[in-house]
Symmetry: C2
DNA sequence: ACCTCAAATGAATTTATATTCATACACTAT
DNA sequence: ATAGTGTATGAATATAAATTCATTTGAGGT
């Protein structure tokens, strides 16, 4: 086993992480084998165990690495906006852009993160952090008078997250063929105005 | 192997299906073993292979059985409503009620159905059928002038399904502790009116 | 009571793959 | 050049669990 300090910095560490990302995305975590990952990363099977504790650890580190980056982008996007509606728009746009730019990550997040008992417990629960972002935005929106006062925030935030994920799932199922980011505006429009025809 | 005809009717067949439902829900498909399922169903390991081709087949038949029932309920719920908004409300309420009444099914649908390559291909894709229900309702709503004309139906239906699933996931994560069906009205209200404060 | 055969059993077998480890390699310092 | 140290290899091993099958059980039927 390599020294803890250096282990995570080497080029090889990232080759394996990326290889694993590609393999997990293609076959799913359970059907992926260490040999496949090793081949994809261009290393021997045994080498993987110099950098990772075991197969689970690969997934764990992958999610950890990606989500750290993801939430940093998220924070930047939200902070750069003034009012709640713009924050929401930026958040959604950022989410879609990051997933579009890294389809392996997108596939893995959408398919493996849900109900992985024992992983989400270690991992700073991805959707939890996300939902906190949303709570803040909604509450700010209510203070600004921009969003309804009678909203049940606990529900609204799942509602928002669920809908983005639904849109991403569809995009993933279509192998990322179309532009995902352009869904941001119509999506936010739905959040804000709903589907009812108020004109009539 | 039992005769095809009789195999699926026996009491034992359903014991195994239910046992599997409980075990899959508790441990997830991959971590569930045949022995656990057999124990839960009160039969010997080998007996399972008299009724099912293999472990995958158990999940497949479980999903098939449950989704057939589910969609029947769904159809009844939708047909019993006059206008599109009521149909939507009934659909969501039915969805939530059925999941609430069968938490094993709920857990399995939410966690195993997504990205199970080779299963959704056999199984009449659950979300596909669901999305067709939604398309019809939305289009009807537009004809009735009850829903906006400028909606991108392809987006709206994922939006709706995604949001219900988000709400169900939260409920499942809380071990079904609170009443799920009561989320139907506020949820539909959000679909229809959005979160924006129009009064101000 | 005995026979027959479908149904059930669970220990033995097979299979698949995660993980280990003895060996080989490559770089640096002396 | 050679020794020494950290790194990489991949064949061999360990393990776990799915699946099989020789054997047993039990419910009619004679």
């Amino acid at each position: 086993m390599l020294k803890e300090r250096e282990r995570e910095k080497t080029e090889k560490y990232y080759s394996i992480l990326n290889g694993a990302g590609a393999v997990f995305a293609r076959f799913g975590f359970h059907k992926s084998t260490i040999s496949q990952i090793a081949a994809e990363a261009g290393v021997a099977d045994g080498t993987i165990y110099l950098y990772f504790k075991n197969k689970d650890d690969i997934l764990y580190q992958f999610l950890n690495f990606k989500s750290t980056h993801f939430f940093q982008k998220m924070r930047d996007a939200v902070n750069g906006a003034e009012n709640a509606e713009l924050k929401l728009r930026n958040l959604i746009e950022c989410h879609l852009r990051e997933f579009q730019n890294d389809i392996n990550m997108a596939v893995i997040f959408q398919s493996e993160v849900r109900y992985r008992r024992g992983i989400e417990s270690h991992l700073k629960d991805v959707s939890k952090v996300y939902l906190e972002f949303l709570s803040e935005i909604i509450e700010q929106g209510q203070m600004e008078g921009r969003m309804r006062q009678d909203l049940f925030v606990g529900l609204v935030k799942r509602f928002i997250l669920g809908a983005v994920e639904g849109v991403i799932n569809t995009w993933v199922a279509a192998d990322g063929k179309y532009d995902l980011v352009s869904m941001a505006d119509p999506l936010v429009d739905l959040y804000m105005n709903g589907i009812q025809n108020n004109a009539a």
